[in-house]
């Protein structure tokens, strides 16, 4: 199991899509939500799940809900 994955599922996100829609670079988004560019990159790649606070900041920046950006995919076995 991936260290970042939750038992029974995995977090996916659409940050890259929303960034493109708002014409933002990783650096721009990182600066606006108060993290480093590496953190935005890690979230986009699914290697790091952001805190609830950071998820809210991103959702507010894109004026959508958290569920619009972050999706929890359950493992169906």
């Amino acid at each position: 199991m991936n260290e970042n994955s939750v038992p029974g599922g995995r977090m996916k996100n659409k940050i890259k899509v929303f960034r493109a829609m708002h014409d933002l670079t990783q650096e721009d988004l990182a600066r606006e939500v108060g993290v480093t560019r590496q953190t935005v990159l890690a979230i986009e790649k699914g290697k790091y799940d952001p805190s609830l606070e950071l998820a809210f900041k991103m959702a507010r920046r894109f004026q959508v809900t958290i569920e619009d950006i972050f999706v929890f995919e359950e493992n169906i076995s």
Partner: protein, 140 residues
């Protein structure tokens, strides 16, 4: 302060520390060296607070936490096993050579350090457990 300036300052502090170390060895002044290290670390820490760019965030905190825990585990086990081996050597007296007494003294010191580390860890653990909400009254 820019991140670049901060790294430059770190370099200057490191060079100063090396200089003070050399001076302390030449003049046999251990206290000056110890004080210089503490002041150097404090200066570096204060400077980092003044950096405008974002260098530390929640992800870097997580990485630091995980790396610290692994270091503690690996070093704890390594030092503890080394100390136990040393104590076994000390029990054998001169069987293991003329330095058995020195090895024993060092091993007991090492063992004491490991236990001190465990005590400090336990104290921090309970502090953070209380800070993050454990131990409170249950509503039900």
């Amino acid at each position: 302060m820019k991140q670049y300036t901060y790294f430059l300052l770190l370099g200057v502090i490191a060079i100063l520390e090396v200089g003070i170390f050399y001076w302390s060895v030449e003049n046999l002044e251990p206290l000056i060296m110890t004080g210089a290290v503490v002041i150097g670390v404090l200066t570096a820490w204060i400077s980092r607070q003044m950096v405008d760019d974002i260098v530390i965030d929640e992800r870097s905190h997580l990485i630091t936490e995980k790396a610290s825990l692994r270091t503690l585990q690996v070093m704890g086990i390594t030092l503890f096993s080394y100390a136990l081996g040393g104590i076994v050597i000390s029990v054998g007296g001169d069987t293991f050579g003329p330095f058995s007494y020195q090895i024993a003294r060092f091993s007991f010191f090492l063992m004491f350090t490991v236990f001190l580390m465990i005590i400090v860890y336990t104290l921090f653990f309970s502090w953070y457990e209380r800070k993050f909400g454990a131990g409170g009254e249950d509503e039900e």
